[in-house]
């Protein structure tokens, strides 16, 4: 288990992380969420022991995190980059050796992973000859091929096409069953919603909300309705019982106050516009995220 207590990191002119506490348990994906500049990357760097926290403790499997844990950590940084002029297999071998694999093991593991991700034919190519997506795959391999106990993925899906995203998603899910501690940092709420069991939402270095994703949804879930229609729906903005109205190109989302049920609402509007689709929805994480961040004082 990874246990972070009262983590604070101050820089010269700012507080990047302000008194954060969270636990990450194996077998679940922990989502570290927040808008750009919220303090996600700083939190990750402290957990990785790349930078020292101003205060607070980080306990990994019962012991403070130190350099001994290097080989048990896998890290995929948000900004990607590899030695562009070097060969794929050489780069993989180097990073494996840095994770304490022998050179024989390193090559063997690298080859296994190249095969797993269907990019064996790039083995002897230079990194710069590969497409961006394939470069990302190589970097993903460097984060996981030493079978780390703690895996930290910062925006793992950016730059991948949908097919590759699916492939990576399945890989990450397979790590869950093997009992790794996984932290996924992202501002893509759709991804977080699909993968994470627990989340910590931060903004300006402060915790906004945290806990089990299902609980949070229930907590924020109200009477939410998805509506497809034709006709002018402007009147809904000020309609009785409507707390929030959000119109998209093909549909609209309506949040109702507690004193009106969805079916009652349907009754009232049914002769005002032509309804094509009507369903009750849970709030998306995206919506929770936006609502919560907007509420935050800047």
């Amino acid at each position: 288990m990874l246990s972070v207590k009262n983590l604070t990191k101050k820089f010269k002119h700012s507080v990047a992380v302000d008194n954060l506490s969270f636990d990450v348990i194996p077998g679940k994906i922990f989502g570290l969420l927040g808008p750009n500049g919220a303090g996600k990357t700083t939190t990750i760097r402290t957990v990785l022991n790349i930078i020292k926290p101003t205060s607070g403790t980080i306990i990994f499997n019962g012991r403070p995190i130190t350099n001994q844990f290097f080989n048990q950590i896998g890290y995929l940084p948000e900004e990607r980059g590899l030695y562009r002029r070097s060969k794929v297999i050489d780069v993989l071998k180097y990073f494996a050796e840095l994770k304490n694999l022998s050179s024989v093991e390193a090559v063997k593991t690298a080859d296994e992973w190249l095969e797993k991700l269907n990019i064996t034919h790039y083995r002897n190519k230079r990194i710069e000859e590969l497409s961006k997506g394939n470069q990302q795959k190589i970097q993903f391999i460097t984060a996981v091929f030493h079978d780390p106990d703690l895996l930290i993925l910062d925006e793992p899906f950016t730059g991948f096409d949908p097919i590759n995203q699916q492939e990576i998603k399945e890989l990450i899910l397979s790590f869950v069953s093997s009992g790794k501690i996984i932290i996924l940092s992202t501002h893509q709420m759709e991804t977080a919603e699909k993968l994470c069991n627990e989340i910590l939402l931060i903004n300006n270095g402060l915790e906004v909300t945290s806990g089990d994703l299902a609980d949070i949804k229930r907590q924020f879930g109200g009477n939410n309705i998805k509506l497809q229609f034709s006709g002018n729906s402007e009147f809904l903005k000020s309609f009785h019982g409507v707390i929030h109205y959000e119109s998209y190109s093909n549909y609209a989302e309506v949040q109702l106050s507690d004193d009106i049920s969805p079916s009652e609402f349907l009754h009232r509007i049914i002769d005002k516009i032509e309804i094509k689709h009507f369903s009750v929805i849970e709030p998306t994480l995206n919506k929770i995220f936006i609502d919560l961040i907007k509420e935050q004082p800047i």
């Binding site: 022991n49 950590i73 890290y75 900004e79 980059g81 590899l82 050796e97 840095l98 994770k99 460097t142």
Partner: protein, 414 residues
């Protein structure tokens, strides 16, 4: 330790494979060989063929004597060095004679000619006219010959015994011999000192610039694409630093070994005089100390700068300090005790190159050797400590270049 070796191996192999390395490996010796062989050729090489030299002697007195004297000079194979031709055609006017003679030069019939004239009874004018000026040895010989003839003639006229004159006119050639500590005689002349020192200084400078830039460039690359974060989450900054310095030093040593082999080959082939390598061990010592010192210095710098242009500027300026001895070489060779030389032999930045020069000029007292080597070792130690501190923080600081004040803060905080 295992990781340090992995890093060193990576830095070494990835850089050995680059085109710039291979080019510098080949190009540097070519430049150096040019530096060392050309002066040797110029200063000692005898003419390979006999030269036809004309004499246009208006006085009619000098021609025979000049011919006799010049034909004394022999080529290596025993052939005469000069064939002396009389260009006077009795019927012609002076100007026609000159025109004809000049034409002979342009037509390559003669190398050049001596024009000897007496415009008034007590003045003698001599010219050497040729297609190119600058053959110092020929001109010096002609001067000597003409002077000897003139002096001999005047002495004879005043009734001095011809035998005495001959013995008076024997040249004394001054040989320069340097006495070394052990009491044996050194055989170096100015050029050998100059060039053997300079070869090493230039080698050192090229290697420092080259490997310093490589180091800084790779640091900037790792910083800009955040690879450094992956590295630092796999090993400590100190391991990374040590690995990089180790890898780069091995690269430097590989380079110098290959060059040394080439150098030995040249000595073996008698292309380069062996005296050039007389102080090779001391020179290698200062060379290696200098290289390691500058490499550690560049690690610190590399973790501060953010763009390649910046890096290039700083590495070039720093390496120029190595060129300092070339500026102070002349006064230093004339007087090895000159103060400036002593001063520069106590500054870490200049010790390597100044000492490379000093060991070749005059025997360096053992105490000076001990002091300079100690200064270098201590500076390297301090530099590693400083660079490591700057490195630890600098590699993770993005954005603009930090101010001097900030860097001092880093050093203190480490």
């Amino acid at each position: 330790m295992k990781k340090i070796l992995a890093i060193a191996k990576w830095e070494f192999i990835e850089k050995v494979k680059t085109k710039t390395f291979i080019i510098s490996l080949i190009l540097t010796p070519i430049i150096i060989i040019g530096f060392s062989i050309v002066p040797t050729l110029l200063s000692t090489k005898e003419d390979a063929r006999t030269k036809a030299i004309g004499v246009l002697d208006i006085t009619g007195f000098y021609f025979d004597n000049v011919r006799k004297a010049l034909e004394e000079y022999k080529l290596e194979d025993g052939q005469p060095n000069y064939i002396v031709i009389n260009l006077i055609k009795d019927n012609d006017e002076l100007n026609d004679n000159k025109t004809n003679a000049d034409k002979n030069i342009l037509e390559n019939k003669i190398e050049g000619y001596l024009f000897i004239n007496i415009p008034s009874p007590d003045s003698l004018v001599a010219e050497y006219r040729s297609r190119s000026i600058g053959n110092f040895r020929d001109v010096k010989r002609f001067e000597e010959v003409l002077n000897k003839i003139r002096i001999r003639e005047e002495l004879l006229n005043s009734g001095i015994d011809p035998g005495l004159i001959s013995s008076l006119q024997k040249n004394i050639q001054l040989k320069q011999i340097r006495i070394e500590e052990s009491g044996k005689e050194g055989k170096q002349d100015f050029l050998t000192v100059f060039f053997s020192s300079f070869i090493f200084i230039i080698l050192l400078m090229m290697m420092v610039i080259y490997s310093g830039q490589m180091l800084v460039r790779s640091l900037i690359e790792e910083k800009s694409n955040k690879l450094i974060e992956v590295l630092i989450s796999s090993c400590t900054p100190d391991e990374l630093l040590t690995g990089k310095i180790l890898g780069l030093s091995s690269l430097g040593l590989t380079q110098i070994s290959i060059w040394a082999l080439i150098g030995l080959g040249l000595v073996g082939g008698a292309v380069v005089p062996p005296e050039m390598f007389e102080n090779i061990l001391l020179m290698l010592l200062y060379f290696v100390l200098g290289f390691v010192f500058y490499t550690t210095l560049f690690v610190g710098i590399g973790s501060i700068v953010t763009t390649e242009q910046e890096a290039q500027q700083i590495t070039t300026y720093l390496s120029l300090t190595l060129m300092l001895p070339i500026v102070i070489a002349m006064p230093a060779i004339q007087n090895p005790d000159v103060l400036i030389l002593k001063v520069f032999s106590y500054i870490p930045l200049t010790i390597p190159s100044v000492m490379l020069l000093r060991v070749n000029i005059a025997p360096v007292p053992v105490i000076d050797l001990l002091i300079t080597v100690s200064i270098m070792l201590i500076s390297i130690y301090i530099m590693i400590k400083l660079s490591a501190k700057i490195f630890r923080i600098g590699i993770l600081s993005y954005g603009g270049r930090p101010t001097i004040k900030e860097i001092i803060g880093w050093i203190k905080s480490g």
